[in-house]
């Protein structure tokens, strides 16, 4: 047999490499990443084109060129978050988890590797998509009153912030998939957290809602890429900390379930 004499053991880097190969080798990964880019760039371009022709997109009154460029962030978040969920829930729905955990029986390295590799992928796609959306938008809007430029204050930081938001949302998706072990469950939890819970805040008394809302994952995430902070919104730095807190919480839950439950 031709196994080389070098010591072959499971290491963190090797598990990460395996996770990257898992991701690369599924067609759905590429399709969904493409969709995320399409949403991110497409919605920005459409919003800008509408503004250019004088038809404000619904809800876009008073939008700046920058906010138009990032109009697609929420849609991209759904695509990237769902792909994050799938990355881990499909392990359970297909039975692949048994192969995975037989190879890495300590288990937790799989979660960290999945979260890290997918988090970086979602961040890169998010940041690149946001940059392209911005450049396309600024080209469309050049010469109008909403013209924007990459050298405007805070723009580069904001675009990176959008990437970080999408990357962390992807990690939360991965964690939800491991925690719930079901694609439908994971996607519901993700969509609920990022899209429905903010709407439910209206049901709370105003004082409560004002106190809680900025700390929701979606609002904390939005403050990561906002160019100017609205009333009561968190600063970008505070938003990052809060979003990291939510991500850590989801990962701890996932780690607990992964370590404790039978595969």
């Amino acid at each position: 047999m031709s196994i080389s004499a070098t010591y072959e053991g499971v290491t963190r880097r090797r598990v990460a490499r395996a996770e990257l190969t898992k991701f690369r080798s599924l067609r759905s990964s590429w399709v969904t990443l493409g969709l995320a880019l399409l949403f991110l760039i497409g919605f920005g371009v459409i919003a800008a084109a509408q503004a250019r022709t004088g038809n404000d997109a619904p809800g876009a009154e008073g939008a700046t060129g920058y906010s138009m460029a990032l109009f697609g962030v929420t849609f991209a978040l759904i695509a990237l978050g769902v792909l994050g969920v799938l990355t881990s829930s499909a392990e359970y729905t297909t039975g692949m988890i048994r192969s995975t955990l037989a190879a890495v029986p300590r288990r937790l390295p799989v979660l960290w590797a999945k979260a890290a590799t997918y988090g970086v992928i979602a961040f890169v796609v998010g940041a690149v998509g946001a940059l392209v959306a911005f450049l396309a938008t600024s080209a469309i809007l050049s010469g109008t009153s909403s013209a924007v430029s990459l050298s405007d204050a805070g723009v580069v930081r904001g675009l990176l912030g959008a990437g970080v938001y999408l990357g962390l949302a992807g990690v939360i998706g991965v964690a939800l998939g491991v925690l719930l072990r079901s694609t439908a469950g994971g996607i519901s939890a993700l969509v609920g957290t990022f899209l429905l819970v903010p709407g439910l805040m209206a049901l709370l008394p105003d004082s409560w809602s004002d106190a809680v809302t900025p700390y929701l994952p979606s609002n904390a995430g939005a403050s990561l890429y906002a160019l100017t902070q609205g009333d009561g919104a968190l600063s970008a730095g505070a938003g990052l900390l809060v979003l990291l807190g939510w991500t850590a919480l989801a990962l701890v839950g996932a780690a607990y379930r992964l370590k404790r439950s039978d595969a």
Binding site: S28, E91, T94, A103
Partner: protein, 303 residues
């Protein structure tokens, strides 16, 4: 070497594995035999750490499976349930597992060749037939070139070609000196390949024996004799290590410890007429049924 000590697994109220203690010795094929629901798959999942024992321990080569730095090098397992993403090619599936241990691409190609997957290696596993899927599972089990290979009902549902292929593979693995631990609910399958047998029923060990001893205990080497003078023949055949039974007044004796040939000669020497002289064939299947009868009965009533 696999060592289980008082291994127990309960799923809620259901006790699937109930204090199993056994050792799978190196360098031999050990069959893990028991009716459906006996707890074989559960035991095998606990061996590779997929299920956590409720109590008791099981070790592979002296350590818990998860405590080995390179677990795939210690034991390769083909489990009962599917363990492949259908959207991934066989090659990519094996590469994923190889990466976790730093196993080379060359080795992946080698196990693909060994399991006859060359033609389909770049096809998605979801399109595989049952037999091809089984080969992929075996390729994964062999990937780390482990000294121990564990297979859970590997021939279940396979066509005759597939069954033959698995049987040859097992023989080859054993000839290479590997420890093979193989489960089945069919004695006939086991008898062909296993030397050692661990028989389980209702989550307990019913017998830890060899195929030969199991048959002997079930009366496999007895000879039936019908004769005109059972009393005289009986006294002529008696001796150390010989056991003879027969109902009074019956012309039939059951003899263990003498061959039909010896009995025939003795009878001829003394001019005793014989009407029947047959080896009493206890099939392995029968021996197994006797052993697991109670366990199956219980399962039938409990279900």
């Amino acid at each position: 070497m696999i060592e289980a000590r008082e291994l127990t697994k309960a799923y809620g109220q259901k006790i699937a594995v109930d204090g199993l203690t056994f050792t799978v010795r190196p360098g031999a094929v050990t069959g893990f035999l028991g009716p459906n629901g006996a707890g074989k798959s559960t035991t095998m999942r606990m061996i590779v750490g997929l299920d956590r024992p409720t109590s008791g321990t099981v070790t592979v080569n002296g350590r818990r499976y998860a405590d080995h730095p390179a677990p795939l090098r210690e034991i390769g397992a083909l489990l009962e349930a599917k363990a492949v993403h259908p959207g991934r090619t066989a090659y990519d599936h094996l590469m994923v597992l190889a990466h976790t241990h730093g196993i080379s691409r060359h080795r992946v190609e080698e196990v693909i060749g060994q399991t006859g997957l060359d033609q389909v290696a770049h096809k998605r596993a979801g399109a595989f037939s049952l037999g091809m899927g089984q080969r992929l599972g075996i390729a994964a089990a062999l990937l780390g070139d482990p000294a121990t290979v564990m297979l859970d009902e590997p021939v279940n549902g396979l066509d005759p070609d597939g069954v033959l292929w698995i049987r040859n593979l097992l023989t080859k693995l054993a000839a290479e000196g590997r420890t093979v631990f193989l489960s089945s609910h069919l004695m006939s399958e086991m008898a062909l390949v296993a030397e050692h047998l661990i028989v389980v029923g209702r989550g307990r060990v019913l017998a830890d024996t060899t195929v030969r001893d199991l048959v002997r205990e079930a009366g496999g080497d007895a000879v039936l004799v019908s004769t005109a003078d059972p009393v005289r023949l009986r006294s002529l055949l008696a001796g150390p290590g010989v056991e003879i039974t027969g109902r009074p007044g019956s012309e039939q004796l059951t003899v263990t410890g003498r061959t039909p040939r010896e009995i025939g000669f003795t009878a001829a020497e003394h001019g005793i007429p014989i009407f029947e002289l047959t080896r009493h064939e206890v099939s392995l299947e029968e021996a197994f049924m006797n052993l697991t009868h109670d366990a199956v009965e219980y399962a039938g009533r409990a279900a």
